[in-house]
Amino acid sequence: MRRDWDTLLREVWAKVREGHLFPELPQPQWSDGQERVALEIKDKKISLSRPFVEKMSENMAEADVMEGLLDHAVSHHLSCPWDFPTHMRLYAEAKKTLKEPRLAQLATDYFMDVVADTYAMRQRETPLPKLYEHLRRDEVDEAIHALYQRIWGVDLGIKGHETVSRRLSRIPYLDRRRWTDSIRRFSKVLHGLLVKEEEDQEGANDDNPMGNHDLQQYSAQEVEKGLQDLAREAASPAEFKEIIEDFEEEILEATEPNEEGMGLGPGRSLDADVLYYMKLAENYALPVCTVPTKKSGSLYPHHHAPWEVGMPYREIDPWTSFGKIMPGITQIWKRREGDIFGEEEDVPDCLILIDSSGSMPNPKRHLSYAVLGAACAAEAYLRRDAHVAVYNFSDAHVGGRRNLGYTDRRFDIYRSLCHYFGGGTRLQIEDIEALQTDEVPDIFLITDMQITNLASLIELFNLRQNRVTAVHIGDNDSVRTFRRSMAPRKNVSIFAVEDKQSIPAIVLGKVKEYLYS
């Protein structure tokens, strides 16, 4: 009598786990899915298709079918793609070679399968070759199986595809440092066959029997963290957009958008530019001064800096280091002599004044330090449950301005920050006045200071008691005028941003002397 399916799966899973040195994966489950698709991975959970296993058991033992499928799935987790950013990076390289998104996706999927299966073959005795011998194949599958014959030294009953399999067999699949080059060569060699397959299918979605590699295999947290990494690595917003825009729906599905997560409200579409600055800003954790202070002579944590080996552990800030001690990720507090805490207060709301005139770079094309700096400031206030208003200006007097009232909706804030006018630079002081509240919000100004009515702004800051953090991009006469005019004001802190590294040094709402004492 046939053993219970669940018992059999538990037994096979125990064997597979041991063979792969106990990966951190949950117990796989059965699904009553299609006969055509053997397995699915969603949020790290592996589901095997019972109809598929039943069908395949006509040719081989059920336990072998299950073991082969589990080897394949676990190898994806352990070797390739390993994580969401690697998946995206591989896709980006494939797209550079193949140009077409659909072809790039196919090439990436095939490449990840080859790496994972070859890893499994190298790792342990696996029934994968037996499984592939009986799997249905299209032409690309045949070429891939011909490759397996060469690089695994097995017979899968494939004849032909000599040239393609020979060229593919030269790729060092198991060397992850060279995957960038490898997938380029892989895509190049398979290009013709992929085009033919797409034409034959005429856009029909033919499922991969070994499971499709959609983004749902990753957890929402992985996708969030992965997007942060990709944003940090991308040379420009355009490069980030190039990778992300083809996965808009999948990213939205994978992350189950909500205000606490991605910050996109229901029904929102994914704006790659907004997402880029959002994820990039999450890499920086700017501190906000919250309490009245007085001179004490003692040291206090002032701003963050990257931690390096040899630096004291006691200064590490675990909250901004993602709980990890690793150079490049971990952040350390830099202490400065100065103030001590006095009476506690809440963080006030923040009014962000951002210059998007023609002298500033277009944030959709180039990395804009203005938008990034403003985004970091917005993040810092939102983290402390404060609200943020945005006044984005260029030729404000002729309509070149965008006002957003106080809100905690991140997407709306980022949309306002990323808007680019590209005209002249003139503020409407009455617009800023209109955004003043009784609570006296902090003001965060980021500009190159080439504002035609800079004198009006200086006058406003001289009259008002808001804590002002003014950040200037570059250096020019206007910057020097502003610095000189604001020097006596103790509620105004001025910072210069030359590059991404300057951003962590900004301390929001810093005051030289507490204003209300």
Partner: protein
């Protein structure tokens, strides 16, 4: 007392070798040899990183390249991968299009295969001198645009260019055939001694100096066709 670590035990692990390891290792050894040969050629022939095209210098560089690769075992896939390696400048200290093209041509001419396909369209840089001295019995297919002196000194081989060539295409060719699906640049067929050049697109200009010039603008045994029509020699034109 129970040993709390008794469940922990050493698990013997033997790295399994699969044919892929051997294939990749062999390929990398071959590529390393080709790279070393190229670097030595560049070191010796182009010491000052300035390389002027002179017939004697080209000939000398080619002979030096042949000497470097003599006895090496490689195939068309190795040449293709070597070209990709040359193209990604971060992996090799420097690339000079002339000597690089001559070295690739030497590799093609000494390869085991008679029919070789290379894809310059996949490379960001353009190589000169591809197909230099291609011998009889060899066919070289170039997919994409190429640099200057393509097929120069052709020696009986068949060069098929699926793209456009730069200037001096087929310069000094002896025999054989060049087929260009797009355009050629200036001085096409300069110093041509024999063979045929077929161009499906436009020819910016044909060469004015021909081997054995006796006062007539005539190609000695060489013919240039444009879109199927004989372009040179159209007629004997008396100079002056």
């Amino acid at each position: 007392m129970k040993n709390p670590f008794q469940d922990f035990r050493s698990v013997p692990y033997h790295k399994r070798e699969i044919p892929l390891d051997r294939i990749v290792r062999a390929k990398e050894e071959t590529l390393e040899l080709l790279v070393q040969g190229y670097l030595q050629l560049v070191e010796e022939e182009v010491r000052d990183l300035v390389w002027l095209v002179e017939e004697s210098k080209v000939e000398k560089a080619y002979n030096a390249a042949i000497k470097r690769i003599d006895g090496s075992l490689y195939d068309a896939d190795d040449i293709d991968e070597f070209c990709a390696l040359l193209d990604s400048s971060n992996k090799l200290p420097y690339l000079i299009s002339g000597p690089a093209g001559i070295y690739i041509s030497a590799l093609v001419n000494r390869a085991q295969e008679d029919h070789i396909v290379l894809s310059p369209k996949d490379y960001e840089r353009s190589f000169h001198f591809l197909g230099y001295k291609l011998p009889e019995g060899k066919t070289l297919v170039l997919q994409g645009d190429v640099g200057d002196f393509t097929g120069s000194g052709l020696f009986g081989g068949s060069l098929i260019l699926e793209g456009s060539a730069g200037n001096w295409c087929g310069a000094g060719m002896m025999k054989g055939e060049i087929r260009v699906t797009h355009n050629t640049g200036q001085n096409t067929g300069e110093w041509m001694r024999g063979g045929e050049i077929h161009v499906d697109g436009t020819i910016q200009s044909v060469g004015t100096k021909f081997y054995g010039n006796t006062g007539y603008r005539v190609l000695f045994g060489g013919k240039i066709y444009q879109k199927g029509k004989l372009l040179v020699p159209r007629a004997l034109v008396k100079e002056g």
